[in-house]
Protein backbone atom coordinates (compact mmCIF):
# COMPACT_ATOMS: atom_id res chain seq x y z
CA UNK A 1 0.00 0.00 0.00
CA UNK A 2 2.89 2.31 0.75
CA UNK A 3 4.20 2.28 -2.81
CA UNK A 4 0.68 2.79 -4.20
CA UNK A 5 0.18 5.78 -1.90
CA UNK A 6 3.57 7.11 -3.01
CA UNK A 7 2.54 6.95 -6.67
CA UNK A 8 -0.82 8.63 -6.07
CA UNK A 9 0.71 11.28 -3.82
CA UNK A 10 1.38 13.76 -6.62
CA UNK A 11 -2.26 13.59 -7.76
CA UNK A 12 -3.67 14.51 -4.37
CA UNK A 13 -5.31 17.89 -4.01
CA UNK A 14 -2.77 20.51 -2.99
CA UNK A 15 -5.20 22.80 -1.22
CA UNK A 16 -8.02 21.40 0.89
CA UNK A 17 -11.54 21.64 -0.53
CA UNK A 18 -12.75 23.42 2.57
CA UNK A 19 -14.40 21.92 5.60
CA UNK A 20 -17.79 20.34 5.05
CA UNK A 21 -19.49 17.54 6.91
CA UNK A 22 -22.13 14.93 6.24
CA UNK A 23 -25.54 16.60 6.54
CA UNK A 24 -24.37 19.97 5.23
CA UNK A 25 -26.14 21.60 2.32
CA UNK A 26 -23.43 22.51 -0.16
CA UNK A 27 -22.81 24.05 -3.57
CA UNK A 28 -20.27 21.94 -5.44
CA UNK A 29 -18.49 23.88 -8.17
CA UNK A 30 -17.21 21.69 -10.99
CA UNK A 31 -15.50 22.65 -14.21
CA UNK A 32 -17.22 21.19 -17.27
CA UNK A 33 -16.34 21.39 -20.94
CA UNK A 34 -18.93 22.36 -23.53
CA UNK A 35 -17.40 22.10 -26.98
CA UNK A 36 -14.18 24.02 -26.55
CA UNK A 37 -15.58 26.32 -23.89
CA UNK A 38 -15.13 25.65 -20.22
CA UNK A 39 -17.44 26.85 -17.50
CA UNK A 40 -18.19 26.18 -13.86
CA UNK A 41 -21.33 24.25 -13.01
CA UNK A 42 -22.83 24.32 -9.54
CA UNK A 43 -24.57 21.30 -8.02
CA UNK A 44 -26.56 22.07 -4.91
CA UNK A 45 -27.62 19.40 -2.41
CA UNK A 46 -27.09 17.60 0.88
CA UNK A 47 -23.89 15.67 1.56
CA UNK A 48 -25.17 12.21 2.47
CA UNK A 49 -21.88 10.29 2.61
CA UNK A 50 -18.15 10.69 2.62
CA UNK A 51 -16.19 7.65 1.55
CA UNK A 52 -12.54 7.28 2.42
CA UNK A 53 -11.99 4.63 -0.26
CA UNK A 54 -8.88 2.47 -0.54
CA UNK A 55 -6.21 5.08 0.00
CA UNK A 56 -6.71 8.85 0.08
CA UNK A 57 -6.75 9.28 -3.71
CA UNK A 58 -9.95 7.23 -3.98
CA UNK A 59 -11.95 9.28 -1.47
CA UNK A 60 -15.36 10.48 -2.66
CA UNK A 61 -18.37 12.32 -1.32
CA UNK A 62 -22.01 11.93 -2.31
CA UNK A 63 -24.38 14.86 -2.72
CA UNK A 64 -28.12 14.32 -2.97
CA UNK A 65 -30.86 16.65 -4.06
CA UNK A 66 -34.45 16.24 -5.19
CA UNK A 67 -35.22 17.64 -8.64
CA UNK A 68 -38.88 17.75 -9.69
CA UNK A 69 -39.75 15.00 -7.24
CA UNK A 70 -36.93 12.74 -8.45
CA UNK A 71 -33.90 12.09 -6.24
CA UNK A 72 -30.55 12.87 -7.89
CA UNK A 73 -27.25 11.81 -6.37
CA UNK A 74 -23.82 12.73 -7.61
CA UNK A 75 -20.61 11.15 -6.40
CA UNK A 76 -17.60 13.45 -6.58
CA UNK A 77 -14.00 12.20 -6.30
CA UNK A 78 -12.58 14.42 -3.55
CA UNK A 79 -9.25 14.79 -5.34
CA UNK A 80 -10.57 15.36 -8.86
CA UNK A 81 -9.14 18.55 -10.39
CA UNK A 82 -12.58 19.16 -11.87
CA UNK A 83 -14.08 19.76 -8.43
CA UNK A 84 -13.09 23.36 -7.84
CA UNK A 85 -14.86 24.35 -4.69
CA UNK A 86 -17.33 23.11 -2.10
CA UNK A 87 -19.29 25.92 -0.56
CA UNK A 88 -21.25 25.21 2.61
CA UNK A 89 -24.67 26.86 2.44
CA UNK A 90 -26.15 25.44 5.60
CA UNK A 91 -24.79 23.22 8.32
CA UNK A 92 -26.76 20.12 9.18
CA UNK A 93 -27.37 18.54 12.58
CA UNK A 94 -27.05 14.79 12.01
CA UNK A 95 -26.17 11.81 14.15
CA UNK A 96 -25.00 9.39 11.45
CA UNK A 97 -22.06 9.19 9.07
CA UNK A 98 -24.22 8.01 6.16
CA UNK A 99 -27.61 9.55 5.51
CA UNK A 100 -28.94 6.83 3.20
CA UNK A 101 -32.25 6.93 5.07
CA UNK A 102 -33.01 10.17 3.24
CA UNK A 103 -33.59 8.11 0.09
CA UNK A 104 -36.73 6.62 1.61
CA UNK A 105 -38.17 9.95 2.61
CA UNK A 106 -40.50 12.17 0.66
CA UNK A 107 -41.28 15.87 0.85
CA UNK A 108 -40.55 17.82 3.96
CA UNK A 109 -39.03 14.81 5.71
CA UNK A 110 -36.03 14.89 3.34
CA UNK A 111 -34.78 18.02 5.09
CA UNK A 112 -31.89 17.81 7.51
CA UNK A 113 -32.22 19.91 10.65
CA UNK A 114 -29.93 22.91 10.71
CA UNK A 115 -27.02 22.85 13.10
CA UNK A 116 -27.23 25.86 15.39
CA UNK A 117 -23.98 26.76 17.05
CA UNK A 118 -24.16 28.91 20.12
CA UNK A 119 -21.29 31.26 19.49
CA UNK A 120 -21.17 32.51 23.05
CA UNK A 121 -20.48 28.96 24.24
CA UNK A 122 -18.42 27.57 21.37
CA UNK A 123 -16.85 30.37 19.31
CA UNK A 124 -14.13 28.02 18.07
CA UNK A 125 -16.61 25.83 16.24
CA UNK A 126 -17.15 28.40 13.52
Amino acid sequence: MDLLAHVAQSSLRKEALGAFAVGDTVNVHTRIKEGDKERVQVFNGTVIAKSRGQGPINATFTVRRVVAGEGVERIFPSHSPKVVQVEVVRKGAVRRAKLYYLRDRVGKATKVKELMVNEAVAPAAK
Partner: protein, 201 residues
Protein backbone atom coordinates in the same frame (compact mmCIF):
# COMPACT_ATOMS: atom_id res chain seq x y z
CA UNK B 1 15.30 -4.86 -26.82
CA UNK B 2 14.99 -4.31 -23.09
CA UNK B 3 13.61 -6.96 -20.74
CA UNK B 4 13.19 -6.22 -17.08
CA UNK B 5 11.59 -8.33 -14.36
CA UNK B 6 9.56 -6.97 -11.49
CA UNK B 7 6.59 -7.65 -9.24
CA UNK B 8 3.11 -6.24 -9.50
CA UNK B 9 2.42 -3.95 -6.54
CA UNK B 10 -1.20 -3.12 -7.34
CA UNK B 11 -3.44 -0.58 -8.99
CA UNK B 12 -4.30 3.00 -8.13
CA UNK B 13 -5.15 6.13 -10.06
CA UNK B 14 -3.48 9.41 -10.93
CA UNK B 15 -4.88 12.57 -12.45
CA UNK B 16 -3.37 13.73 -15.73
CA UNK B 17 -4.74 17.22 -16.20
CA UNK B 18 -8.49 16.70 -15.79
CA UNK B 19 -8.43 13.05 -16.82
CA UNK B 20 -8.24 10.20 -14.39
CA UNK B 21 -5.71 7.55 -15.41
CA UNK B 22 -5.99 4.02 -13.96
CA UNK B 23 -2.45 2.80 -13.39
CA UNK B 24 -0.65 -0.35 -12.32
CA UNK B 25 2.51 -0.02 -10.26
CA UNK B 26 5.33 -2.48 -10.94
CA UNK B 27 8.31 -2.63 -8.60
CA UNK B 28 11.52 -3.60 -10.39
CA UNK B 29 14.23 -4.04 -7.80
CA UNK B 30 17.47 -4.07 -9.83
CA UNK B 31 17.87 -7.31 -11.79
CA UNK B 32 21.38 -8.50 -10.94
CA UNK B 33 23.52 -10.20 -13.55
CA UNK B 34 24.66 -13.62 -12.34
CA UNK B 35 26.26 -14.88 -15.53
CA UNK B 36 27.14 -13.54 -18.97
CA UNK B 37 26.47 -16.11 -21.67
CA UNK B 38 28.36 -15.90 -24.94
CA UNK B 39 27.68 -17.36 -28.35
CA UNK B 40 30.94 -19.31 -28.40
CA UNK B 41 30.58 -20.83 -24.97
CA UNK B 42 26.81 -21.16 -24.44
CA UNK B 43 25.32 -21.01 -27.93
CA UNK B 44 23.78 -17.55 -27.58
CA UNK B 45 24.59 -14.13 -26.22
CA UNK B 46 22.50 -13.54 -23.12
CA UNK B 47 22.51 -12.52 -19.49
CA UNK B 48 21.36 -14.64 -16.60
CA UNK B 49 19.77 -12.36 -14.03
CA UNK B 50 18.51 -12.80 -10.48
CA UNK B 51 15.04 -11.39 -9.88
CA UNK B 52 12.33 -11.33 -7.20
CA UNK B 53 12.65 -11.28 -3.42
CA UNK B 54 14.53 -14.06 -1.65
CA UNK B 55 12.96 -17.50 -1.72
CA UNK B 56 12.78 -19.62 1.41
CA UNK B 57 14.83 -22.55 0.20
CA UNK B 58 17.54 -22.39 -2.40
CA UNK B 59 19.41 -25.53 -3.34
CA UNK B 60 23.17 -25.47 -2.78
CA UNK B 61 23.78 -25.83 -6.50
CA UNK B 62 21.76 -22.72 -7.32
CA UNK B 63 23.10 -20.83 -4.28
CA UNK B 64 26.57 -21.47 -5.68
CA UNK B 65 25.71 -19.55 -8.83
CA UNK B 66 24.71 -16.53 -6.77
CA UNK B 67 27.83 -16.82 -4.61
CA UNK B 68 30.12 -16.96 -7.64
CA UNK B 69 28.69 -13.71 -8.97
CA UNK B 70 28.66 -12.10 -5.53
CA UNK B 71 24.91 -11.56 -5.71
CA UNK B 72 22.51 -11.99 -2.79
CA UNK B 73 20.02 -14.86 -3.02
CA UNK B 74 16.87 -14.04 -5.00
CA UNK B 75 13.93 -16.22 -5.89
CA UNK B 76 14.31 -16.57 -9.67
CA UNK B 77 17.04 -16.84 -12.27
CA UNK B 78 15.94 -15.63 -15.70
CA UNK B 79 17.65 -15.29 -19.04
CA UNK B 80 17.40 -11.93 -20.79
CA UNK B 81 19.02 -10.41 -23.88
CA UNK B 82 22.31 -8.57 -23.45
CA UNK B 83 21.53 -5.06 -22.21
CA UNK B 84 23.17 -2.52 -19.95
CA UNK B 85 26.53 -3.50 -18.49
CA UNK B 86 27.35 -7.13 -19.39
CA UNK B 87 29.32 -8.11 -16.32
CA UNK B 88 28.54 -10.48 -13.47
CA UNK B 89 27.28 -8.46 -10.51
CA UNK B 90 26.02 -5.60 -12.71
CA UNK B 91 22.54 -4.27 -12.01
CA UNK B 92 19.78 -3.74 -14.56
CA UNK B 93 17.50 -0.96 -13.38
CA UNK B 94 14.38 0.84 -14.55
CA UNK B 95 16.62 3.34 -16.34
CA UNK B 96 16.67 0.81 -19.23
CA UNK B 97 13.12 1.93 -19.99
CA UNK B 98 13.81 5.65 -19.78
CA UNK B 99 13.29 6.29 -23.48
CA UNK B 100 10.28 4.01 -23.82
CA UNK B 101 6.74 5.30 -24.25
CA UNK B 102 5.08 1.92 -24.73
CA UNK B 103 5.90 -1.48 -23.32
CA UNK B 104 4.66 -5.07 -23.37
CA UNK B 105 3.89 -6.86 -20.15
CA UNK B 106 4.27 -10.61 -19.70
CA UNK B 107 2.61 -12.01 -16.63
CA UNK B 108 1.09 -15.20 -15.31
CA UNK B 109 -2.63 -14.80 -14.74
CA UNK B 110 -4.44 -15.88 -11.60
CA UNK B 111 -4.93 -19.62 -11.20
CA UNK B 112 -8.55 -20.69 -10.81
CA UNK B 113 -7.98 -24.39 -10.21
CA UNK B 114 -10.29 -26.97 -11.75
CA UNK B 115 -13.01 -24.76 -13.22
CA UNK B 116 -16.33 -25.64 -14.82
CA UNK B 117 -17.31 -24.76 -18.38
CA UNK B 118 -19.22 -21.64 -17.39
CA UNK B 119 -16.17 -20.01 -15.83
CA UNK B 120 -13.60 -21.53 -18.18
CA UNK B 121 -15.32 -21.19 -21.56
CA UNK B 122 -18.13 -18.74 -20.87
CA UNK B 123 -20.88 -21.32 -21.49
CA UNK B 124 -24.37 -20.07 -20.69
CA UNK B 125 -25.37 -22.86 -18.32
CA UNK B 126 -28.93 -24.02 -17.83
CA UNK B 127 -32.10 -22.88 -16.11
CA UNK B 128 -32.03 -22.42 -12.35
CA UNK B 129 -35.59 -23.74 -11.82
CA UNK B 130 -38.53 -25.36 -13.67
CA UNK B 131 -37.36 -28.88 -12.81
CA UNK B 132 -33.91 -28.49 -14.32
CA UNK B 133 -31.44 -30.96 -12.84
CA UNK B 134 -28.16 -29.53 -14.17
CA UNK B 135 -27.50 -25.85 -13.70
CA UNK B 136 -23.85 -25.38 -14.64
CA UNK B 137 -23.33 -28.63 -16.59
CA UNK B 138 -21.88 -28.54 -20.13
CA UNK B 139 -24.77 -30.49 -21.78
CA UNK B 140 -24.21 -32.58 -24.88
CA UNK B 141 -20.65 -33.23 -26.07
CA UNK B 142 -21.45 -34.84 -29.42
CA UNK B 143 -23.86 -36.59 -31.79
CA UNK B 144 -24.96 -40.25 -32.03
CA UNK B 145 -23.87 -43.36 -33.91
CA UNK B 146 -22.42 -41.12 -36.61
CA UNK B 147 -19.74 -39.95 -35.82
CA UNK B 148 -19.87 -42.12 -32.70
CA UNK B 149 -17.20 -40.18 -30.89
CA UNK B 150 -16.61 -36.86 -29.20
CA UNK B 151 -14.58 -34.58 -31.43
CA UNK B 152 -11.18 -33.44 -30.27
CA UNK B 153 -11.07 -29.92 -28.95
CA UNK B 154 -14.49 -30.20 -27.27
CA UNK B 155 -14.48 -27.56 -24.55
CA UNK B 156 -14.84 -29.11 -21.12
CA UNK B 157 -14.08 -28.42 -17.46
CA UNK B 158 -10.45 -28.45 -16.37
CA UNK B 159 -7.52 -26.48 -15.05
CA UNK B 160 -7.98 -22.79 -15.70
CA UNK B 161 -5.61 -19.88 -15.25
CA UNK B 162 -1.93 -19.69 -14.23
CA UNK B 163 -1.07 -19.21 -17.89
CA UNK B 164 1.44 -16.84 -19.38
CA UNK B 165 -0.38 -13.81 -20.71
CA UNK B 166 1.07 -10.93 -22.70
CA UNK B 167 -0.44 -7.46 -22.86
CA UNK B 168 0.95 -5.42 -25.71
CA UNK B 169 1.55 -1.69 -26.07
CA UNK B 170 0.74 -0.46 -22.60
CA UNK B 171 1.54 3.20 -22.10
CA UNK B 172 4.28 3.96 -19.59
CA UNK B 173 2.91 6.77 -17.44
CA UNK B 174 6.05 7.40 -15.42
CA UNK B 175 9.21 5.84 -14.09
CA UNK B 176 10.47 6.36 -10.55
CA UNK B 177 14.19 5.59 -10.58
CA UNK B 178 14.58 6.26 -6.88
CA UNK B 179 12.00 3.69 -5.78
CA UNK B 180 12.51 1.36 -8.78
CA UNK B 181 8.93 1.76 -9.97
CA UNK B 182 7.46 1.52 -13.44
CA UNK B 183 3.93 2.89 -13.69
CA UNK B 184 1.87 1.72 -16.66
CA UNK B 185 -1.63 2.65 -17.75
CA UNK B 186 -4.28 -0.02 -17.35
CA UNK B 187 -4.45 -3.49 -15.85
CA UNK B 188 -1.89 -6.28 -16.13
CA UNK B 189 -2.27 -10.04 -15.55
CA UNK B 190 -1.59 -11.82 -12.28
CA UNK B 191 -2.09 -11.27 -8.58
CA UNK B 192 -0.48 -8.47 -6.59
CA UNK B 193 3.04 -9.63 -5.78
CA UNK B 194 3.17 -11.76 -8.93
CA UNK B 195 6.23 -11.89 -11.18
CA UNK B 196 6.03 -9.64 -14.25
CA UNK B 197 8.34 -9.13 -17.21
CA UNK B 198 8.40 -5.75 -18.91
CA UNK B 199 9.66 -5.84 -22.47
CA UNK B 200 10.20 -3.05 -24.89
CA UNK B 201 10.88 -3.35 -28.59
Amino acid sequence: MAVLYGTKVGMTRVFDGDQVVPVTVIECTPNEVVQVKTKDHDGADALKVAVGARKKNTSKAVAGEFKKAGVELRSFLKEVPVQGEAKAGAKLTVSLLDAAKLCNIIGWNKGRGFAGVMKRHNFSGHKATHGTMGHRTPGSVGCRMDPGKTFKGQRMAGRFGSEQTTIKNLKIVSIDAEKNLVIVKGAIPGPNGGLIAITQN
